[in-house]
Amino acid sequence: MELSQVSYFITLARLLNFTRTAQECRISQPALTRSIQRLEAEIGGELLLRERAATQLTDLGRAMLPLFERVVNAAEIARLEARRLYRNERPALRLGMSPWLAFPLLAPVLTEVVTAISGTEFTVTVGSEEMLRESMLQGNLDILVAFRGDVFPERFDCWKLFTTVVTLIVPRGHALAAATAIEASQLAKSRFVGASEPNALPEIVLALLRRRADAGIESPHRANNWENALQLVQAGLGLGVGLSCWPVPPELAARPLIEPTLEHNVVLATLAGRTPSPAASAFIKLARARTWKPAFVQS
């Protein structure tokens, strides 16, 4: 299909009037009609009901409209980006990240964006996912990397990057470090490092473990991000709840939790319909194109 055909259809879907659409698109009405007919032939169905009184979208037309809008918008961004029309501006990349997602994971993508898009100014904000979503809706963030793909409202575009599993992090000398995987039932009467925020990843996992492993799981000490949590485990204040994608220092061992195995999707989210900066657009493309390693391999 041609960019022009699709653009005409989007205008027509907004105006629902052939005459006014032809005027706005600066083409003749017969040319507009032919263009729409060719698009309909390609899509394999009518996009519009041409009633005498008014033009209306068919169900197919309504279904295709957001798909067309997305691809036209993406093509426009690509065109601007490749031609570097906003080269003189400093392309901003404002990234929001869950405090329980290890930042080093994103470093290769960030490095490539900063190298390829000259003048990129990068800012990272770490905060609760709720706060980050709110911040994004207010226009203060371009991209969000988080866990909870399921809770994003419709206004967000959301892509799953990879799936990572919950691990338990124990000091090397600990008895559990000898196992290749740890079952919930082995954790009765263990002390854990919790999270200062009740909805954070470690607290969700601990609540589940408390239900599984009879009793005695306590978490008197709490961290507010993944690095803090690792430091508290290293200091001997409790066992850690982590993810297989976290880089773990050599003094600690990360073992997958089994019975139950818990998985988390790591998602990339942006605000739908917003034109991203060239740097943000490059980040999104690189993140979606690449192979992610869902597990950190300890040397």
Binding site: M1, I43, A78, R79, A82, A116, I284, W292
Partner: protein, 285 residues
């Protein structure tokens, strides 16, 4: 480090066809190993444009790779084009008119729409950088799920050395995300760049994007190939298999668009196109 995939490494080019070392001395030009060098921050080796084009033995290369793609495609057709797949294929042929699709596509003389896309090494590849090295072959394939496309990419790989000797680079684009480009590059031993055309935006600008018709979408679904996983969107917008040759000034010089995805032009025509391009440029046409 990977050995530069020059003609001396001919034995490793698909189908184990050994290219002779002594086919006219000029073939000893050092081809570019695109992958082991950082793109787009490398200087390419190029043949100077004043080298007589007659010295590039296209016909010798042609003889060596003779008709192999057609045989491969025929084998896949006889094996795959049955039942639901045959019905889905018929629907594609009925839905899309070859002439109209060619009309939709950008044409010789048109400027190539610029692009900036990720490669399989996680780098962004800029079309302007590619063109600064010489002519460019841009080929669109439907996806790693399409066996006809895989056979075509393998055929292009067999000709890669001849493209490089003519100073040209080759990139293959599809909307496959999530490391799928890297997978097929490994699996099919392809040395040229595979770029992820995220959301098919570049195919759209080249005028070769279609929506896969309903029967085909059902067929894909029955094989657990879902657009939401493969492309990161549910649209099933994919490119028609197509190939464009672009002169280093960014002008399209050659276009091939295939509605019938089971039939492809033998890529042997491409070295000829590149060679003609060199002659024309030298003569200032």
């Amino acid at each position: 480090m990977r050995q530069p995939p020059g003609l001396d490494a001919g034995a490793s080019l698909g189908h184990n066809r050994v290219l002779p070392r002594d086919t006219r001395g000029h073939l000893s030009c050092k081809p570019v190993d695109f992958y082991s060098s950082a793109i787009p921050r490398m200087a390419a080796t190029r043949i100077s444009s004043d080298m007589p084009s007659e010295t590039v033995p296209i016909d010798a290369i042609a003889a060596l790779t003779n008709e192999s793609l057609q045989e491969d495609l025929a084998a896949i057709r006889s094996q795959r084009l049955t039942g639901a797949a045959a019905a889905a294929y018929e629907e594609v042929l009925l839905r899309f008119d070859q002439g109209e699709m060619l009309e939709n596509a950008i044409k010789p003389g048109d400027p190539m729409p610029p692009f900036l896309l990720p490669n399989t090494a996680g780098q962004l590849v800029d079309s302007a950088t590619l063109l600064s090295r010489g002519p460019l072959i841009v080929t669109f394939y439907r996806g790693g799920w399409c066996p006809y496309c895989m056979a075509t990419l393998e055929a292009l790989e067999r000709l890669r050395a001849s493209f490089e000797c003519l100073g040209a680079s080759l990139v293959a684009l599809s909307p496959d995300t999530g490391g799928r480009g890297a997978q097929i590059r490994r699996r099919h031993n392809l040395q040229f760049e595979i770029l992820t055309d995220v959301d098919s935006t570049v195919a759209f600008q080249f005028g070769v994007m279609i929506r896969l018709p309903a029967r085909y979408r059902q067929l894909m679904s029955s094989k657990s190939v879902e657009a939401r996983d493969w492309h990161g969107n549910p649209s099933w917008f994919i490119p028609l298999p197509s190939t464009f040759v672009v002169a280093s000034n960014g002008a399209i010089v050659h276009t091939e668009v295939h509605v019938d995805f089971t039939n492809r032009t033998e890529p042997l025509s491409l070295p000829r196109v590149l060679s003609d391009l060199r002659v024309n440029q030298r003569e200032g046409i």
